[in-house]
Symmetry: C2
Subunit: 248 residues, 2 copies
Amino acid sequence: MINVTLVGTGAVSNHLLDVFSNTNGVAVLQIASRGDQLSQALERMRSRDEEVDIYIIAVSDDAIATVSEHFVKSNALLVHTSGSVAMHALPKEVRRGVFYPLQTFSKGRKVDFQTIPLCIEAEHKNDLELLRTLARAISQSVYELSSKQRKSLHLAAVFVNNFTNHIYQIGNDICLENGVPFDALKPLITETAHKINTLSPIDAQTGPAKRNDDSTIDSHLSQLKSKTHKEVYRMLTKSIKETYESKQ
Amino acid sequence: MINVTLVGTGAVSNHLLDVFSNTNGVAVLQIASRGDQLSQALERMRSRDEEVDIYIIAVSDDAIATVSEHFVKSNALLVHTSGSVAMHALPKEVRRGVFYPLQTFSKGRKVDFQTIPLCIEAEHKNDLELLRTLARAISQSVYELSSKQRKSLHLAAVFVNNFTNHIYQIGNDICLENGVPFDALKPLITETAHKINTLSPIDAQTGPAKRNDDSTIDSHLSQLKSKTHKEVYRMLTKSIKETYESKQ
């Protein structure tokens, strides 16, 4: 049995609580939140420290250092769940590690943890083994990555999640401006995402920028009303053109 | 029974042939391709013109005008399948229309036509009715749009398909540069696309640009090696910031 204490009340913490509660071999001992009276919460946690195998600090990036300071005297493994914060941001007095689920979580939206990649890291071999056991209990996809690797994966995730979603937003804006239903684009959005499971993005690319079709590009630019949308269109077109020039 | 002649041998024509062949009430009379000896193909087509209800010209945008010229004497309805070409690009001597499936087609990749939005347009009421019947026979999602509306929908599609796929490509490049597996991003890509079925893009947005988290943004920019990737990052970050400033 792996005994886990979850610290934090955000989406990651809630989703982990949900999945651990339904997993054999894992027990969630306590859920500590910053909303608690901190002194009371710490008192409660300290009293059971001996029973805890892993503290999972699932708080926002800039709160990790402060929150984890409260666990310097613990004998348990201390991990955070951030993609972009280094393992060494945790106090050097403790056994340190990282348990980063690479997914976008929204409250109220169910996710299947079995398919979520978990990126793990630990200072000590035994701790890495412990994290591997915990990760494999809930997911089929476990990666052992250094802090540097995880940071670059997180940056790539900003592109494919944050920036992609913003591209959807621009598509939505264009539809609104022209009185056409954004819903008509949803099957295309789904297919574009699914396609890369069988085709690499470089092979899946289509469109005027890849074809060097400047008359269509000019026509698109003249249709766009927003200055920023024009700039985004120009920049991505330039980037696509460069990609295919360099690969030819 | 609606009798259709498909002109063209690209992905759209192949997919339409596939779905029409399996649809009650629709018969594909002939498949004409530009690869045929043109004179022979036209001879063959003209000899059966009386039996044809709709010619579907599924050729590349810049070939539509030339190819459709060969049908000026036909009594059938003549439609093209392009998102960005106006209905009036077809010869004025014939009954004109448009039958535009809004999806990305790749040879060898099966698509479920029932979920593909079909955008239809026709000069005459009866022809619009005919296209509606044909469209509803293969899809649950049929939109009647003007050439102008269709053109703007096609532009929005360039964003959510071409540009999104290129963003995936940049994510792939970052992974390659840093020795991390792009596969780890695929569940995130899928979830990002699925999320907008229940959440609008404006509500689904997360990340440092939305939070105005400039220290994370600076750290990301310093990690990016390619000048163009940096420019794309800056431009999309600017666009996200502007979006949330204007909505506040």
